[in-house]
């Protein structure tokens, strides 16, 4: 008995975190700290200093982003280094991944300031939850074990339910929150059941901790998988595909994106989609890599159907937020296509970028395009946030040239017009598809691009070409200096970022 306790003691000592482990996740700890700090400020800061809360959150995010990119820093670990006794490992290119999440959180905060104040909703709670969700997402994509994977995924999901239903006085926001809750709960239940099946069928006496990704990969490579294991793998991938919004798990997307407050819509479209794509990439290149021969065709099929379903559904929509939601589904198709290449032909490269890096670059471009478009859209007044029909943009060019310019650059980048960053990243994915010889997916992607031109430019036509009718408002719109600065900076980003990516 004493020897057993001594063994346990040794085991605990071997697994207990070292100081260097904590430093490796310092950016994530920083974001979580900012989240708690927002709550603390809400308790002590007087009413007239309330602007401090979003301001500190934004300054903190910028600082953490600079810190995360510092060369030779201890929080940029090689994939070989096990952290926290094998719970955390930096398998993905962490620099780009962290930037995706930090930029999404920062831009969401910048959008939320004006938006929530105008609707009488508190900023402190919003920032608290937003930053907590961001920290969870950042930990999710470094998991090397199903326990941190499940816990951070669920922590993020619970926070997102709050962010979607944040406008308590709006029926649309609450309805979107409840719909997201039921759909999200269903996907978590499947994800958990899948994890349990994989754990149970691969584990056994002496088999090691079959919740750890390397142990799962080893057991699958040794051919230990049964039909039940495959069912579990399918359930897990379904759960991740739900987050990404891939076909056939995309039915929640239009309703939730339309009803959520616009800043939350932007965050869902970028950070939540990024988490889905990256966790799927993490799973299929890590623990499920030995199943590549089975996983790759399934992913290719999903990518093909997602590309077609998203674009065709967006064609038939006349609400702008819904159309952008469905176009997001087609972007999920592009991401899935790149993930497929990472599984099917890991050695394929496009302009010296591996498939993993292309996924991250695509997400960065998508963050810029989505926030530019939605930021410009949020500047156009609407009686109800969840009803933004196409005609509400009519004559926008005469009312606000800056918002129209932002919309043009943003939608141009989402549609992939050269020389925007959206074009460059779409090109990277297409080159990867050619190299991997996935011709059917390539065809679907090309059809998708052609179809998307139609609905994307339908939005621009309303804003630029169609004259305002006499009953339409023609009064110029007030755009704040900050708002103009953000639109200008992001527009410049769509032009420059692509060239930077190709030059490296």
């Amino acid at each position: 008995m004493t020897s057993l306790i001594a063994d346990l003691d040794l085991a605990f000592k071997a697994l207990s975190p070292r100081g260097s482990d904590w430093i490796a996740i310092l950016p994530e700890l920083g974001v979580a700290g900012l989240s708690l700090f927002a709550l603390l400020q809400a308790m002590v800061v007087p009413e007239r200093l309330r602007w401090l809360i979003p301001a500190t959150a934004r300054a903190g995010l910028v600082l953490i982003a600079v810190m995360a990119l510092a060369p030779e820093a201890a929080w940029r670990q090689l994939p070989e280094t096990q952290l926290f006794g094998g719970l955390i490992r930096h398998n993905l290119p962490m620099d780009g991944v962290r930037m995706v999440f930090l930029a999404s959180a920062l831009l969401t905060s910048l959008m939320a300031g004006r938006f929530l104040t105008a609707r009488g909703a508190g900023l402190a709670d919003y920032h608290h939850v937003l930053l907590a969700v961001t920290a969870s997402f950042m930990l999710l994509v470094q998991s090397d074990h199903f326990v941190p994977f499940f816990v951070s995924l669920e922590a993020a999901a619970v926070g997102l339910y709050v962010l979607v239903g944040y406008l308590r006085r709006s029926e649309a926001s609450l309805e979107a929150g409840v719909k997201f809750l039921v759909a999200g709960g269903l996907s978590s239940a499947f994800l958990l059941m899948g994890m349990v099946l994989v754990y149970g069928t691969l584990g056994g006496p002496g088999g090691g901790d079959s919740l750890a990704f390397p142990v799962i990969a080893k057991a699958l490579a040794a051919g230990k998988g049964t039909a039940l294991t495959l069912a579990g793998v399918a359930m897990i991938m379904g759960g991740a595909a739900f987050k990404l919004g891939a076909f056939p798990f995309h039915s929640w997307i239009p309703d939730v994106y339309q009803g959520a407050p616009t800043p939350t819509t932007a965050y869902l479209a970028t950070a939540s989609k990024a988490a889905g794509a990256l966790s799927l990439l993490l799973l299929v290149t890590g623990p499920f890599a030995p199943l590549a021969a089975k996983v790759a065709p399934a992913l290719a099929g999903l990518a093909l159907l997602t590309l077609l379903a998203g674009n065709l559904a967006a064609l038939a929509t006349s609400d702008i937020k819904r159309a952008l939601a469905l176009s997001g589904v087609s972007h999920a198709g592009f991401l899935l296509a790149a993930v497929t290449v990472a599984v099917a032909r890991p050695e394929a490269t496009a302009f010296n970028y591996s498939a993993e890096n292309v996924v991250v670059l695509y997400l960065l471009a998508y963050v810029i395009g989505t926030f530019l478009t939605l930021h410009s859209l949020a500047g156009v007044p609407a009686a109800e946030d969840h009803r933004r029909p196409l005609i509400s943009l009519r004559g926008l060019i005469r009312r606000s040239p800056s918002l129209t310019a932002g919309l043009c650059f943003g939608i141009g980048s989402l549609a992939g017009v050269p020389p925007s960053v959206g074009f460059v990243t779409k090109l990277l994915v297409l080159v990867l598809l050619v190299q991997a010889g996935l011709w059917w997916v390539l065809a679907a992607a090309l059809i998708g691009v052609a179809v998307s031109i139609h609905y994307y430019f339908g939005i621009l036509r309303e804003a630029v070409v169609r004259p305002g009718e006499d009953r339409e408002e023609t009064a110029p719109l007030e755009t704040g200096t900050v708002s103009r600065f953000i639109i200008g900076a992001l527009s410049l980003g769509t032009l420059v970022a692509g060239a930077v990516m190709l030059a490296r």
Binding site: G185, A189, L211
Partner: protein, 102 residues
């Protein structure tokens, strides 16, 4: 207890999971739908404990605690949303959720 095997436990967990899924798909009352979601999580937890016991690995039993904690947080947020919706709309029937449509 000598006669219960892993298969029995898994069968029960599978039945509970299917029952929960059927409830989510069929029932219209949001509270009942939500209870069925929790039933699905509980079924997964049961399978987890069973595997952990019969495989003689402790990791699954540890995950159970995390699952219970996460489920509690999810219920807290979920019920708050459903109650807020009831206050606004006076109903928790999913058929009446029709503000958002194409």
């Amino acid at each position: 207890m000598e006669h219960t095997t892993l298969a029995h436990h898994l069968l029960l967990a599978g039945l509970l999971f299917a029952l929960g899924l059927a409830g989510v798909l069929v029932r219209r009352n949001l509270l009942v739908v939500y209870m069925c979601l929790e039933l699905m999580l509980a079924a997964a937890t049961l399978a987890l404990v069973a595997f952990s016991r019969f495989n003689r690995t402790m990791d699954g039993a540890v995950l159970v605690f995390f699952v219970i904690t996460v489920a509690a947080a999810e219920v807290a947020v979920g019920l708050a949303l459903i109650v807020a919706l009831y206050r606004r709309r006076g109903t928790v029937s999913s058929e009446r959720l029709d503000v958002l449509r194409p």
